[in-house]
């Protein structure tokens, strides 16, 4: 018997949502004293986000001009956005399970690639840094994607 279909699959949807939050949002205030910062790492008060570097309210890096310096960060941001879209599309019950599985695996591997890139950068350049919510978010996204890809079953079979 075909199980009762829900509106969306929650695991890939939350994965997609988290990747979009990391890709677009700097910090969300919780109360008046604390705020959730979605940076990848922090070093001496400098916050390294996926979209740029912020120190004391000033942005070091921007995508204003397309130059060779900006290509890699822009590519990383596009990959994160792509994995977010994969997750949100993969949350739909109307798609074929095999297609969704492929999408989620591609999205998951994309995030793992980014994680590897940041991990290597941390070890090579920065040494002792404070990992931010963005880094942990990337780990959570990859787990959610691979978990949901493993859980998808073909109802037709």
């Amino acid at each position: 018997m075909e199980p009762k279909r829900k509106f969306i699959r929650f695991l890939p949807f939350f994965g997609g949502l988290i990747s979009l939050v990391i890709g677009f949002i700097a910090h969300i205030p919780i109360g008046s004293l604390f705020s959730m910062r979605f940076h990848i790492v922090e070093l001496h008060g400098i916050f390294y986000y996926i979209w740029g570097v912020v120190e004391g309210g000033n942005v070091w890096f921007e995508f204003v001009q397309l130059s060779l310096d900006n290509i890699v960060p822009l590519l990383l941001w596009i990959l994160l956005l792509f994995s977010g879209i994969c997750g949100i599309i993969g949350a739909s019950y109307k798609e074929k399970p095999a297609t969704i599985k492929k999408l989620l695996l591609i999205g998951g591997f994309t995030v793992v690639l980014e994680l590897l890139y940041f991990t290597v950068l941390i070890f090579i350049n920065l040494g002792s840094v404070a990992l931010g919510l963005g880094y942990y978010g990337l780990i959570i996204i990859s787990i959610l994607y691979f978990l949901s890809a493993g859980l998808i079953t073909d109802y037709q079979k």
Binding site: G23, F24, A26, G52, F63, W77
Partner: protein
């Protein structure tokens, strides 16, 4: 089922048509602000930035989208009309299956390619968009909006190929 690539294309066209920048590093200060963003200009020469919706004076950060319509009349606004129509058709065409939707997708693709060629020619020769550059300056003056338009055209080709015509 709706053509998802077509819908994504429509969303990108909405962003290109009505936004000056994709905000990045959004934070909740006094209202909603952002640290930086991806500017969606077609081209810029350091003083003037050309968008689908008009011209922005970079030095003054003064939006003057009305200038094209006010000074040049409807001829200065044809690009925006074509892009907005292709955006609306993109959403409609994605939902219509069969040959009707496919024809609509072909029309959108033609409109997008024509827009791209028009912008390129206008920036190089004509200047009705508000900016003229030489061929040697072209690649340094092209903005992310132009590259986004190329991505939109490529996505439209993919949307056309995967469009469901078997009813």
């Amino acid at each position: 089922m709706a053509n998802k690539v077509g819908i994504l294309n429509g969303i990108l066209l909405v962003i290109l048509n009505f936004f000056s920048v994709i905000p990045l590093g959004i934070y909740f200060g006094i209202g909603l602000s952002s640290y930086t963003g991806i500017p969606l200009m077609f081209a810029q020469d350091g003083i003037t930035a050309v968008y689908a919706w008009g011209i922005l004076d970079i030095a003054l950060s003064n939006g003057t989208w009305w200038l094209r319509l006010g000074v040049m009349g409807i001829s200065g606004f044809i690009l925006e009309i074509v892009l907005v129509v292709s955006c609306i058709l993109s959403f409609i065409g994605s939902w219509i299956e069969g040959n009707g939707g496919r024809k609509m997708m072909v029309i959108i693709l033609i409109m997008e390619i024509l827009s791209f060629v028009f912008i390129l020619l206008d920036i190089l020769v004509i200047g009705t968009l508000g900016l003229v550059v030489t061929i040697s300056e072209l690649f340094s003056s092209l903005g992310i909006g132009m590259y986004l338009l190329i991505i939109i055209i490529l996505l439209q080709i993919i949307a056309l190929k995967i469009h469901n015509i078997n009813l």
